[in-house]
Symmetry: C2
């Protein structure tokens, strides 16, 4: 497969000035907000007039059908209606470039190909912004949803460069990092990083359905993490899994092979321990390859842990003094344990700011048990279940 | 199975005054800190003199062998040496009650039974505090590690009530919620809520080891959550899985059955979509049964979202004013998106404080987009991978 990545800022081409977004959900509405801010004139449509109007009220654009001079159409609808909406707009708007945000690209392209060909087909450029959040719908829309997120664009030799530039400029305008990937490579990748993990999280969570409550009470943070996405919407995920069935099946077959080895090893015949250790070690290797939020490594931010009293006012004093130091806090994590007299707070800052922060806080009398210790996410996170 | 739960406060029996802890890791050192605070005289031993001294320096007790008048011995050593250390101390201290913190109880009890019997065996009471954190070793010890966490105690008819009361009083003194469970029920439960989830997280993460980097770049928060515990220590987990092999095997076999059904459904024959939707829906059902941190439901805290500028000083002003309101912030979550002009901050407070916080912040001119909206963790969390 061939693929290349280009930072949004480096992309060529002007941002389309007239954009029509089909679907006013989380992605469609957020894109409308971001493109409006970027200076484009955005029109919105949704099968739900309420959703479209809500997105418009939030500043995501104007509720209207696509104008004849629309330069770019973005289909941000559920996966199972995306192909027909793409085809519909390719035909309705003979001048427009049409893209979409669906999570599966190969089958979608095949479906579009079955309806349109030639120059008409060349105006379709599939894309997949890897963005989202826990809440759904226009009400959860955010102007910065796509910032520093990967935006996959699938084009081929036949794609007119000026049309490709329109989609690249759009992704860049909302702050995404553009990844040019072939549809099949994209689909096999998301099967591995998203679709198969969703299935396995759901199967693990399903084991809890019939447990006595005294057993579920033993759940720890590890289980909560592994099963968080098991709360995902069955309707949406049935569409996603069916749309990428072959690739998801390949990954699940690999998992089943490893699973069979582990199950066999649990008979504890000679050599079994090496198989068990090997399975956990292979997981270490894979887990360490995962980039952090926004593609940053988990250690991108340095952590400064501060001991604080667990009473009102202390946080205020701490953050006021951090503000005086002129240092921006990227993230904050409070230790959850309750009922303690002393608690601790992790401040996440850019490594370059650590020394100033540490010096400044120490000078102001704060207790920093381990100074600018890096996040140690590789420390046996499931220790809690020993 | 029979099981009952009693809140620590309700437990009877006096806290043992002379406690010996074998193993100065995260659990042993934290227990030493908590029992010392509770007024017990704690002695510590560890195969590593450095670890023992570090724990002592932190206030977890005194480095010494168990005195003859020791009332309670707590073995907090790795699983594979726990049985022999339990037996050793049962024999060395004919008056003492001996317990442990290992994550597998049935096989351990069998191993102890093979070495000791009768009155000697009756002095052993297995337990398993379900506590831990991401960091390991004495350096990560915390006096409040066990607070509001389940502490499983395994006893039977032969257990002398006064000795059982000692262990219950110990668990209660460190703030744990005591759960009386039979060893087999405990082991089958942790296989489901901890051991099998660890295996599946590792197998999912292992799929990433050979991926092209352009593919791994598509990872989102869902994958990070599912695979976080895949960073766990292979040595430790080989011991845990081997120690609970039969129960883990049972759960993994169930997962494989479901997995086979999903793999077959991905051939997309008639009826396939119902199988896929059923698998995700079953995961919803199981996931909803998981209690939150400290056994609290995820909605225990209410969220107040505040719009803030992403510059130094704003956090200080916000927390200073929250402090003025006399409201304690249980947790804080900053929206990670970078480079934005406006960001938002989620303040987690007890529901009773929401109205005061909202009124107070609005009165001070802060923007609260959705006021005291409850956390909605069940909202399609994997939306990000659409």
């Amino acid at each position: 497969m061939s693929s290349s990545s280009s930072r949004g800022a480096a992309a060529t081409g002007a941002l389309p000035q007239r954009v029509h977004i089909v679907g006013a959900g989380l992605l469609g509405a957020s894109l409308g907000l971001a493109l409006t801010r970027a200076g484009a004139a955005v029109t919105l449509a949704d099968v739900s007039p309420t959703a479209a109007q809500l997105a418009a009220d939030m500043g995501a654009g104007t509720v209207a059908e696509a104008a004849a001079d629309t330069q770019l159409v973005v289909v941000a609808a559920p996966p199972d209606v995306t192909a027909s909406l793409v085809v519909e707009h390719l035909r309705r708007l003979p001048e427009a470039t049409v893209t979409d945000v669906a999570s599966v690209k190969g089958a979608l392209l095949d479906a579009v190909r079955r309806s349109v060909t030639g120059a008409e087909l060349d105006r379709y450029i599939g894309s997949h912004p890897m963005a989202g959040r826990e809440r759904s719908g226009a009400i959860a829309a955010r102007v910065d949803l796509f910032e520093d997120r990967p935006w996959v664009i699938c084009s081929d030799e036949a794609t007119p460069p000026e049309r490709l530039a329109q989609v690249v400029a759009t992704a860049s305008a909302v702050g995404s990092t553009v990844l040019h990937l072939e549809p099949d490579f994209h689909d096999s990748s998301v099967a591995r990083v998203s679709h198969a993990p969703q299935v396995m999280s759901s199967l693990v969570a399903a084991r809890l359905a019939r447990m006595p409550v005294e057993g579920v009470a033993l759940a720890g943070q590890g289980l909560r993490d592994v099963t968080r996405i098991a709360a995902s919407d069955p309707g949406l995920w049935t569409q996603i899994l069916a749309g990428n069935a072959a690739e998801v099946r390949t990954v699940l077959m690999e998992i089943r092979e490893d699973l069979d080895r582990v199950i066999a090893a649990l008979a504890l015949e000679p050599g079994a321990l090496a198989v068990l250790a090997g399975a956990i070690a292979a997981g270490n290797e894979g887990q360490q390859r995962i980039p952090g939020k926004h593609g940053q490594a988990p250690t991108q931010y340095a952590t400064v842990t501060v001991v604080i009293g667990d009473e009102p006012g202390n946080l205020g004093r701490l953050f006021a003094e951090v503000g005086e130091l002129g240092i921006n806090i990227e993230d904050v994590r409070i230790d959850h344990a309750t009922g303690r007299r002393l608690g601790s707070l992790d401040l996440f800052v850019l490594p370059a700011h650590v020394q100033d922060l540490v010096d400044g806080l120490l000078a102001r009398g704060w207790r920093l048990p381990d100074h600018a210790e890096k996040r140690t996410e590789a420390d046996t996170p499931n220790e809690g279940q020993r």
